[in-house]
């Protein structure tokens, strides 16, 4: 009798520590974010219930609008550039023999280093006096030598996105490469027997073969585009003149600089809400487009 009871308890004893740690640090606070978004709170003192006032303020806050626009720009960049680059290079690399591993290892390096360092290295390269502008100057490229990569509000966001791309595309490449290697090789042979060209092979064998990975990368890119923080915070911190302000940096400022915890929580709710919405939209579209089997 007692041993039967023990058998029932043991699995719970095994899973409970991980569960409790995660619930108390992640899930429960996440729910409290939802609740606290209805309060006026500075993080320390007493919170005052104010209903949906925070959300009303968000809809009138011009910086929020600006931030969301920047996040959308970010999304448009990251859903095209690294995907096309990663996919193209993955196709070429997958045709290689032994050198495949070498290229894969090199392309992946920027992904493993800290965003703090990658951001600061490129900040140094983009320094208007001591950075690559010196090189452009010596090459006689006057126009390029005068560009303030991070100081010009018109291009600062693109400069940061460029650096994040540098770090990110190798990861996408490796994902695609891994998926391409798992495509059934007899399908290629069959296509060749049927007289398919390289391009037709790509269109009718490779792409359908990795459609699940494509769907995964799309979902990840969409969600991550609205959550991105590190590179912007490290390289420009939203400046100059809010030209690189995104949701995350604005939340961060509200929570830990202005100590408006209630308002920051409301912004977090909006941010996560947008993510969830886009997630389902993407799921819906890829299901309609036959990208997923579920």
């Amino acid at each position: 009798m007692s041993s039967v009871k023990k058998r029932h308890v043991v699995p719970y004893l095994f899973i409970i520590p991980a569960f409790i740690i995660h619930v108390s640090i992640v899930t429960a606070p996440a729910f409290s974010t939802l609740v606290m978004s209805l309060f006026d709170w500075n993080g320390m003192g007493n919170a005052k219930f104010i209903g949906i006032k925070n959300f009303k303020e968000i809809f009138q806050d011009s910086i929020v609008k600006l931030s969301i626009m920047h996040n959308i720009q970010w999304l448009l960049i990251f859903i095209t550039v690294p995907l096309i680059l990663g996919f193209t290079v993955a196709i070429i690399v997958s045709q290689l023999g032994r050198t495949q591993m070498f290229f894969r290892t090199v392309y992946f390096i920027p992904y493993i280093i800290s965003a703090a360092v990658a951001g600061k290295i490129w900040t140094a390269y983009m320094n208007p006096y001591y950075g690559l502008n010196q090189v452009f100057d010596k090459l006689g490229w006057e126009g390029l030598a005068k560009v303030l990569w991070l100081g010009n509000p018109k291009i600062a966001l693109y400069s940061v996105a460029f650096v994040d791309n540098w770090h990110w595309w190798g990861f996408i490449l490796v994902l695609f490469l891994g998926a391409l290697q798992q495509v059934d090789s007899t399908l290629y042979e069959a296509a060749r027997v049927d007289g398919a060209s390289r391009f037709q092979e790509l269109l009718h064998v490779s792409i359908p073969g990795i459609k699940q990975t494509i769907a995964f990368v799309l979902i990840m890119t969409i969600m991550w585009s609205f959550l991105t923080f590190d590179y912007v915070y490290i390289m420009t911190n939203g400046g100059p003149a809010n030209s690189t302000e995104i949701m995350s940096t604005y939340i961060y400022k509200n929570a830990f600089v202005k100590y408006r915890a209630g308002y920051a929580n409301a912004l977090c709710v909006i941010q996560s809400g947008v993510c969830v919405l886009l997630y389902f939209l993407q799921k819906y579209i890829s299901k309609k487009g036959g990208m997923e089997d579920e």
């Binding site: 290892t105 280093i113 360092v117 929570a255």
Partner: protein
């Protein structure tokens, strides 16, 4: 000229173009880092006049100066200590948990598995604000414990599912046999499953190490005391303070990424497999 030769020529040209393209992309990925390494052996003046190229005169004092001024001895200690404790904690709770949801039968098994699947995609910004202010009240902010607790919690879901997928591939008969011989469930986990899953535990340890070493948002928010800062946050502070000395910034970058790069060069396959395994549905 026959058609075949022309075709072959076209094939060769496209072959060369592809190779050049791959090489250019490799240069794009690696050269910014190689140049940082080279610049750490140049004088500040040389770095400023021309940020690209080989050192005209190799200097080695950048490392000593940066290491001492940046307080990197302390920062390295903090990062290694934090990573070490987090790795142990994650391996223990994830090891037990993944064993339960992959090997044992119990009523809420489905619930727990689903929970960790959903938990993977919870963004940090959804809980950083309450975590900060609650820990602030408890007096945990600006202590090592705050980061150790938070990192452990954040690492659980992904590694739990990674290990679960791996353990599910080990035949259950082995553990059953051990239990017939009188082993308890914990015994069979430690004596049978653990040795088989050793390489997976190593992968998890590496993934946790790298993410602790590289993490920025939380350590930047929770730790303000200089002597408690981890390497990545110490580095960002340092670049702010010595922003005018380019050679030191390049050197500090090398110091900050060196352990991760070294580990990667030895274990690149494990890195890549571990870091991209999230895309495979479990």
């Amino acid at each position: 000229m026959s058609n075949g030769i022309r075709k072959r020529k076209g094939y060769q040209i496209s072959f060369i173009i592809k190779r050049i393209f791959l090489l250019l992309m490799a240069i794009f990925a690696a050269v910014p880092l190689i140049q940082v390494f080279l610049n750490s052996f140049r004088t500040d003046r040389e770095c400023k006049i021309m940020p690209l190229g080989l050192p005209q005169k190799w200097v080695f004092n950048n490392y000593k100066d940066t290491w001492l001024i940046g307080g990197y001895g302390q920062a390295y200690f903090n990062s290694f200590l934090t990573a070490f404790i987090v790795i142990i904690a994650v391996l223990v709770v994830v090891g037990l948990g993944a064993y339960a949801i992959s090997k044992l039968n119990f009523r809420l098994k489905g619930f727990f598995t689903a929970y960790f699947f959903v938990a993977i995609s919870l963004p940090g910004f959804l809980y950083i604000v309450p975590d900060y202010f609650v820990m602030n009240k408890m007096g945990l902010v600006d202590t090592r414990w705050s980061l150790i607790i938070v990192y452990t919690a954040m690492q659980i879901p992904f590694n739990m599912l990674l290990l679960r997928t791996f353990l599910a591939g080990i035949p259950r008969e082995l553990e059953e046999a051990a239990k017939i011989d009188g082993c308890s469930e914990l015994d069979s986990l430690l004596k049978i499953t653990l040795p088989i899953a050793r390489s997976m535990f190593l992968t998890i340890a590496i993934l946790v190490f790298v993410s602790v070493w590289n993490e920025f948002l939380w350590s930047n928010t929770f730790i303000t005391t200089e002597s408690l800062k981890l390497v990545a946050t110490r580095f960002v502070k340092f670049t702010g303070e010595y922003g005018s000395n380019m050679a030191r910034i390049y050197t500090a970058s090398v110091i900050t990424i060196a352990p991760v790069i070294a580990l990667y060069l030895f274990l690149s396959r494990k890195f890549i497999e571990g870091m991209t395994s999230g895309s495979v549905k479990g």
